[in-house]
């Protein structure tokens, strides 16, 4: 049946124009007002995602930062100067993240913690390239951010795991499973943006490096934050792969796992989901499939160090929640920053950048109890990486095999040479 519009009501042309207007407003957002003018604290700005499907990225980053900053301030700060955090919600819109970064910089922050994932991280990166603000990217995992010399400049550092490290570690681990179970037919399902594309390509590259006869017979690329994965799940069902790789994460991974489980996919194929072993995901999946292979994002049981367990306990006590991968990265950013501040004794960005380069600190999250800000490409190395298989109850992942950083360094260097980056 056809229902007639009110006379004088909106035309289709008007509606389409208004839809475009709504989209434009949604993208640019309404202006936000900065606050937090202090006396003489060390001011750190942090744009991140505090709402939406991946709000836990920003929420857990913020919580970890605040917890570690409070400790620093309680110990007297930098000669009595506390750190003041100014944290704003970008809603996952890269343009908004860049705008917030500019706003914070014009408000005179001393340092920027970019709490955006790769989608917004590169937008913030371009802002600080121009302004020369000392910036620590705490959630950007796309390797090119620090590996590509064109993306590198003196004031930007990455305090996050990165795709190439995870991919080498994952490739080594997966190759062993491939050999043991003869898994030759692979498919991939990863989010359709820089991180998903790059990380998947790197994983496949190292999987083939160790097991050259592996074939990728199909791939499917859901959009970031896509609401429904049925079409991707049925694509995987049709491909009948022996193994599937995915770097979906957070709410996207949860929705995919729920839908894939209904189609019985986890009993048909071996799944390698690099981002599964994070409490954000593990706690939300109602029936966690047993035997999914995953890299450690954040687990209180890995690395098996008392300091790591204590970090998880303190975080849980204060926020009634579990830390995430983003939480340990954010905490590490505070640890490195405060170490550099103490070393320099002030907030001069050039001096702080020089202090950060090559800085090694004790860390609850280090493979051997330490992490390093590698000088050559200003990126974090030495953090604990391991792969294991999921179980439905605590500690959620068992049989974790620790990655060998010497092997990662060697293959990372070859990968850079192949790209013309080294």
């Amino acid at each position: 049946m056809m229902l007639k519009t009110h006379p004088g009501g909106p035309s289709r042309r008007g509606i389409l124009m208004a839809s475009a207007g709504l989209g434009a407003v949604a993208v640019t957002g309404f202006p936000m007002i900065a606050s937090g003018q202090g006396r003489r604290p060390i001011r750190i700005g942090m744009p991140t995602i505090l709402s939406g499907r991946v709000a836990q990225l920003g929420i857990s980053s913020r919580d970890a930062v605040l917890m570690e900053v409070d400790k620093f301030n309680a110990e007297g700060g930098l000669d009595g100067r506390p750190i003041e955090m100014i944290i704003r919600d970008s809603r996952g819109v890269p343009a908004e993240a860049a705008r917030l970064a500019r706003e914070m910089i014009s408000d005179g922050v001393d340092i920027l913690f970019d709490g955006e994932p790769s989608s917004g991280g590169f937008a913030v990166h371009e802002v600080v390239r121009e302004t020369g603000t000392l910036t620590l990217h705490i959630n950007t995992e796309t390797s090119a951010m620090s590996a590509d010399p064109r993306q590198r400049f003196w004031n930007a550092f990455r305090v996050a795991r990165q795709g190439i490290h995870d991919s080498v570690a994952g490739g080594v681990y997966a190759a062993e499973i491939v050999k043991a179970r003869n898994l030759r037919r692979w498919m991939t399902i990863s989010p359709d943006y820089a991180y998903g594309r790059d990380t998947t390509a790197e994983f496949v590259e190292y999987l083939r490096y160790f097991t050259p006869d592996v074939q990728v017979v199909g791939e499917t690329w859901p959009k970031l934050f896509q609401p429904d994965y049925t079409e991707n799940v049925t694509r995987l069902a049709q491909g009948r792969p022996q193994a599937v790789y995915s770097c979906l994460w957070a709410g996207d991974l949860v929705a995919f796992v729920e839908q894939a489980a209904l189609y019985g996919l986890f009993s048909q194929s071996q799944y390698f989901a690099v981002n599964m072993a994070d409490y954000t995901t593990l706690k939300q999946i109602k029936q966690l499939p047993r035997g999914v292979h995953s890299g450690n994002r954040y687990l209180s049981s890995y690395p098996p160090q008392p300091a790591n367990a204590a970090f998880a306990r303190d975080y849980n006590r204060r926020f009634n929640n579990y830390p995430t991968n983003w939480a340990w990265q954010a905490a590490t950013a505070v640890h490195l920053t405060t170490a550099a501040l103490k070393k320099v004794g002030g907030t001069d960005p050039r001096q702080l950048a020089a202090a950060l380069k090559g800085l090694t600190i004790d860390s609850p999250f280090g493979a051997d109890g330490k992490v390093t800000m590698r000088a050559e490409d200003q990126t974090l190395v030495g953090y604990a990486i391991g792969w294991g298989t999921t179980i439905p109850t605590e500690p959620y992942v068992e049989g974790i095999q620790t990655a060998n950083w010497s092997q990662i360094f060697q293959l990372e260097q070859e990968w850079k040479k192949g790209k013309g980056w080294a």
Binding site: M1, M2, L3, K4, T5, H6, P7, G8, G9, P10, S11, R12, R13, G14, I15, L16, A18, S19, G21, L22, V25, A26, L50, S51, G52, R53, V54, A55, Q56, I59, R91, G218, E219, T220, W221, K223, F225, Q226, P227, D228, T230, E231, T234, A237, Q238, A250, G251, D252, V254, A255, E258, Q259, A261, L262, Y263, G264, S267, Q284, K286, Q287
Partner: protein, 300 residues
């Protein structure tokens, strides 16, 4: 582009069963949202840009009801009736003031409502994504029909959404209420002069449209992430459906929604890198060939 894979799929019963069942289910879910949107537009002249918010609220109401009762039936009813009640409330207090108004005024009011409700949801349920559970019965291994895979929960979704679509068609086409609604859409002044309380009719239409969106949200909650702002992407797809189907046409919305569902399903096989683009391509082709939409009767 993988045309060989697509041809192979179309020639395989197992692939056809899997893709058609998935495409129809997703299409029918989309129809629930789009039919409410087109119903409200057709009768009230209101372009409800906040329709996605009603979908989101349906998911949250269902999630809370399921957590409290563990009953899928109760959670579905809570999502549907809760959003219908909310729809009635905002229609009486807000939307009735902008019927037939300039589309920019409607956009402003709707966008304000979207922002307010997103914040209300964050205050009540938090900003992080949530996941609704489902009864263990629905988690049974999927049916294998002709070699194709059909999950039990998708059959439930298919059955419920198809029943609601038929009920809506019956209600609008064969009942006195449906005739009154259609008459009010053509000339509400004339209908009022016959002694019909058109304000009540408008309120009822808005509530039905809201209930349909709420039902879609409630049914989707067990398989999708429940999150503030979840209505935005579904709203865009719903607008595509209403434009392809013909604005104001419920039958057109049904055909368009099923077409979108099947296009996405088979597009993922043959055009894995262009599945999203296929929807917009289809919309562009329909607008070029028939600017008023598949079932539209009025020129743009």
């Amino acid at each position: 582009m993988d045309l060989g894979e697509l041809v192979s799929c179309v020639g395989s019963l197992s692939c056809l069963v899997t893709q058609v069942s998935a495409g129809l289910t997703i299409g029918l879910l989309l129809f629930l949202v789009a039919s409410g949107l087109t119903l409200i537009f057709g009768v009230l002249g209101l372009v409800n840009f906040a329709h996605g918010t009603l979908y989101m609220l349906g998911a949250y109401f269902a999630l809370s009801a399921y957590a409290a009762t563990g009953s899928f039936l109760v959670s579905t009813l809570a999502g549907t009736l809760g959003v219908a009640t909310f729809g009635l409330l905002i229609e009486r207090t807000l939307f009735r003031r902008i019927y037939g108004a300039d589309v920019l005024m409607q956009l402003l009011v709707c966008y304000a409502l979207i922002l307010i409700m997103d914040d209300v949801v964050k205050i009540i349920w938090g900003g992080d994504f949530l996941k609704m559970d489902m009864p263990d019965t629905f988690r049974r291994p999927p049916f294998i029909i002709g070699g194709g895979i059909v999950p039990l929960f998708y059959l439930v979704l298919f059955g419920v959404t198809l029943a609601v679509a038929l009920l809506l068609a019956l209600c609008m086409g064969r009942t006195r209420f449906g005739r009154t609604v259609r008459a009010a859409a053509v000339n509400s002044t004339m209908v009022a002069s016959l002694g019909v309380n058109t304000n009540m009719v408008f309120a009822a239409v808005f509530a039905i449209g809201a209930a349909l969106a709420g039902l879609a949200g409630a049914l989707s909650a067990p398989i999708r992430s429940v999150v503030p702002g979840a209505g935005v992407s579904i709203l865009i797809e719903s607008f595509i459906v209403t434009v392809i189907g013909g604005m104001g046409s419920i039958g057109g919305a049904l055909v368009a929604a099923l077409l979108i569902g099947l296009t996405r399903s088979f597009g993922s096989i043959g055009f894995p890198l262009f599945t999203e683009g296929l929807m917009f391509l289809m919309m562009a082709v329909v607008l070029l060939l028939k600017p008023s939409g598949l079932a539209g009767k009025h020129p743009a």
